[in-house]
């Protein structure tokens, strides 16, 4: 006497025998693996760039640089000190810090060579200003008036002025990555439709026999959706594993570069959860698409 579990297992095994085995032998799991690999990479790029844009947006709204454009070094230092003092006491300023001249010289060296540190070239002093949260434009206008009152040799450059195009580019790339994910989902669906149609056509004789014995469309569709779901599971797992490997390697390389901008391209917990859900969504998409395709094909017969 079979137990309930053994009975279900035997029934499942009998159902599985209805379509001849051929798993992994066909191209389907490999195609799904490639598509999942590209989808996860695109999604990771979109999420990482989104994080970078968000981080940059905070900078855009809350940071500015004040330049002390004075040729005489001693006068420049005095003016910089006065300006710093004024900024630290000003409304709308959270923090004001002078940029180390040595750091500035290092950054200019690729363009100016040793002249950057020789003192022959007048290099402006820089003060990094962090603004209080709120209306950034109003804060900048207020500081511009304050600095104008101090000296005509002071200029304020809100970071938005030079980071906005870059943020726009990163944002566009993020949306592009999102678009690629959508296209990959559509392409995966199309591949599953073709695979399900092919499987339906190649098992036509068996399907006809099952139909004439009283099989319902849903009973037959289940056979195909299970087979294609398994193929999609294997392909998704493979593609996901390789994509995660690549993402981790790229992350290590970005970290090693030490760039603040590239370092902002990160994945937070939410991003990892989204990536982890992609193979599950892939399997679900493949299974439902296979079911829909086979039911539609069966619906055209009597």
């Amino acid at each position: 006497m079979m137990t309930g579990h053994a009975n279900r297992k035997a029934a499942a095994a009998a159902r599985n025998r209805l379509l001849p085995e051929g798993r992994v032998a066909g191209p389907m799991p490999w195609i799904i693996a490639i598509m999942m690999f590209l989808t996860v990479l695109s999604a990771a790029a979109g999420l990482g760039l989104g994080a970078a844009v968000r981080s940059m947006s905070a900078d855009l709204a809350g940071r500015a640089s004040v330049q002390v454009v004075e040729a005489d070094a001693a006068a420049r230092d005095r003016l910089a000190a006065r300006t710093l003092q004024a900024l630290r006491g000003a409304d709308g300023v959270r923090a004001a810090d002078p940029v180390d001249p040595a750091l500035l010289a290092d950054q200019l060296r690729p363009w100016l060579g040793d002249a950057a540190t020789s003192g022959d070239l007048p290099v402006p002093a820089l003060i990094d200003v962090m603004l209080t949260p709120g209306d950034a434009d109003a804060n900048v206008d207020r500081l511009r008036r304050l600095l104008g009152g101090l000296s005509s040799k002071l200029r304020i450059e809100p970071h938005a002025a030079f980071l906005l195009p870059l943020a726009g580019l990163l944002g566009a790339l993020g949306w592009l990555a999102g678009g690629v994910v959508l296209l990959m989902i559509l392409a995966t669906g199309a591949v599953v439709v073709l695979a399900a149609r092919g499987a339906h056509d190649s098992h036509r004789t068996t399907i006809d026999v099952l139909h004439l014995m009283g099989s319902t469309d849903v009973q037959i569709a289940r056979l195909f959706q299970r087979r294609i779901g398994l193929d999609a599971f294997l392909g998704s797992a493979l593609g996901f594993a390789f994509a995660i490997l690549v993402i981790v390697l790229i992350g290590l390389r970005l970290t090693a570069m030490g760039s603040e901008l590239l370092g902002a391209v990160t994945l937070d917990t939410r991003g990892w959860i989204v990536l982890a859900s992609l193979p599950l969504l892939g399997v679900l998409l493949a299974t439902l698409t296979a079911r829909w395709t086979v039911l539609r094909a069966l619906g055209r017969s009597l």
Partner: protein, 236 residues
Amino acid sequence: MSAIVQFENVGLRYGLDSETLSDVSFSLASGGFYFLTGASGAGKTSLLKLLYLAQRPSRGVIRLFDEDVVTLPRKRLPGFRRRIGVVFQDFRLVPHLSAYDNIALPLRVAGMEESEIDAPVAEMLNWVGLGDRGDARPATLSGGEQQRVAIARAVIGRPEILVADEPTGNVDADMARRLMTLFEALNRLGTTIVVATHDLPLIAQVKGAQMMKLDKGRLADPTGTLRYPPRSQERP
């Protein structure tokens, strides 16, 4: 009237060709035994296809189990098909399944528990003389053995109607007699049997069976007994 099948002026046309079946009208009494004869191309297989719901007619009315199956919604067809056993002329065994699994198909389709399948399938295999060939795939069976598997598969679900298209075409005379004995036994249990055949001696073997003859798509019924069977031929 306990007619299990009724055809009223049924016509069947494939595409734009002339009608394969024209104005076919008959009634099959529940529990009757019928032979369908006619020359090749007379329309026997087409008529059987209408009977086992593989085809809808181009015109006319077909009633099965007291329901009009011409206008029956598609989703209700499986329930009707499970009440009909079919022995196809070309057997239509599923090639990658063993003889055992082929015979078990109707029971599994009907949702029978696995634990309840083994006994009737084993009994059926023995009944058709293939008790030791349960694991064999159709390709390794002879034509006659395949036909017996097909017959076992058709009758295992105890159908109310059994439709057989040339069931003795690939078996020797002895096996043909045994198959007819099997069909008669089923018939005695209440199954309505419809057998398409060219084999006239076979028809003579079954006492009380009624003959239906198709000629160029039309059913010969000079006395009208097929259309309006006498009360004595009806079974409750």
